[in-house]
Symmetry: D3
Subunit: 130 residues, 6 copies
């Protein structure tokens, strides 16, 4: 078989269940999405990735909604279908309204455009920006 | 010559000066950065790009700081040197603290990592995310 | 019709069959995957692409498994679904174990993250790296 | 030393000189640009790459100017500084006017924007496009 | 619900219908593809995007077929499934033959290859290209 | 100032010095490259990134040379100048010969080409690859 299966909670080792439990408790949900069930095929990657995501996405100088919208911005730029779908839902849950989503998309689209205009016109960085 | 020159205010046509004036007034600055001076080689692109950027980056459902950080997130993902430099300065001006910058970078880095884990593990989109 | 059909062996010209035969002989398989059947719509592209792939992927200073894993690394970074699926299977066939796959994914994920941290922090290249 | 040197004509082996001669004759120039001098560190890559480029960029169903502009479009999208610089010059030499360059940039910028709007809005492919 | 619905003509506001009418009139078709029906969830983005696309894709120094092929080149490089499908159809409609499509693909593939050879070999930009 | 400075060892806090010491001990070198000196502006990111890199790049099912070459493959695909320079040096140090480098580049170039041919020809994934 080419791709690995998903590790369901019922079939998971105690080590993996502990992480699944932490994901559900941290996110206040009662289910685990496929991303984590796939990473569970490699417990060290599951643990390292979850630990990093948990630390990075916790409220800090930036609020959770802003962080989720940044996640969407990167995922859209990279054309990652899974990540666009999952983080758009996460951003909605964190409070993103239709109007916020519309502006998020507008900024992401525009930034992708002007990134190419800047490089295509071979614009040199202004001294004041260094 | 391979690349086009930059159109300085002193050498600009009335049509271009009008846009330069609007850029400076809107941004409350007294100078024009190289990006616009390069686009000025093609007045329709200068006008269209500025009109869109002005409309999109205006305060709305999202505040200007959030929009500038989204711009940085996209530019970093695309590795656009000019855009990283200019929009990081713009985000600073809009109020981005060192702590905010650090979290912005952490989220952008992590999103770029998990985007690839999701695609590399060929994770299917959960029914709940559709 | 928007997309071109797949050229099956039974319907292929002698020129295309010769390449199909070489693909199957080189890869020790008895079937042709869709990628080549699509390229067969343009025989010069089919021939040039196969000749290059055959030359590049042959054992040399790097072994076939390493080359297939590099192929997966690029395909994952580019989010190419077809290439991820086909080259993950090819790497498995060349000997990639579950543990190797897990480490491959971990490196690819991390590299995509630090690529953005390096550009986002606008890190200058060290003199020793030039 | 981290990076390989450039192989100048005077220091090149007969095998490499033969390719350099063909590059200059095909392009009707009397010099070799750095890209080829770098690839010359690996003669098989130099030969394979030049053979492919020569075949692909020759006039055919598409004229040389269109091909060079397509090359610029890809290079700008990928943010490859070297390729943007070299292929913009090549497109100029093939007849690209200032007005054509301006429109090329406008299309490349817009396509990069709508690519993200399409993925961010998770637009499904219309049945008529399949 | 995670994703927004498509706004059909029958359900559209007068403002949106006006844009849909202009799209159909400009493109000489009697239907609206999903991209615009999705953007219609945010009328300002629909209006701005259509206005820009209409202006940029109009015949000018470059003909419509060349512009559509450039659009395909960018979309393929970015791996945007929706955009590849829709703009390949548009290019066909604008006159792209099978032979033109084959050469377009060959150039896009080659440019993506040499973009990486140039950066991987860390090739410096020739003085003549600046 | 737009960009953050580099934190030199002499100016670093005990927390940062501890990480710098671990980097030098792990890598058997007596200096710290700019990437880490830049991340040190945010100690949590410095710590998390180093901990992950150390864990991921340690010898395991894949040897250090293979891991460094994978790192180069991703960095080249993403056009990250800093990462290409630093990881090419690291791969050299881990034993990458000129011949290995040449083949690495050839595979990365080819994969970037066929990724686009697969998406441009809209090739469906073979049942056997699922």
């Amino acid at each position: 078989m080419a791709t690995l299966g998903l590790i369901e909670y019922a079939d998971a080792s105690p080590e993996i269940r502990e992480i699944y439990d932490d994901i559900m408790a941290t996110r206040k949900t009662d289910w685990i999405n496929n991303f984590w069930k796939a990473l569970a095929n490699d417990p060290p990657t599951l643990r390292r990735t979850w630990t990093s995501v948990k630390e990075i996405m916790a409220p800090g100088a930036l609020d959770p909604l802003t962080k989720e919208m940044l996640y969407v911005a990167v995922s859209v730029t990279n054309q990652c279908g899974y990540c666009i779908a999952s983080h758009t839902v996460a951003a909605r849950k964190a409070g993103m309204s239709d109007a916020m989503f519309a502006e998020l998309m507008a900024v992401v689209g525009m930034a992708n455009e002007t990134n190419r205009l800047a490089s295509g016109y071979q614009v040199e960085i202004d001294a004041r920006f260094r």
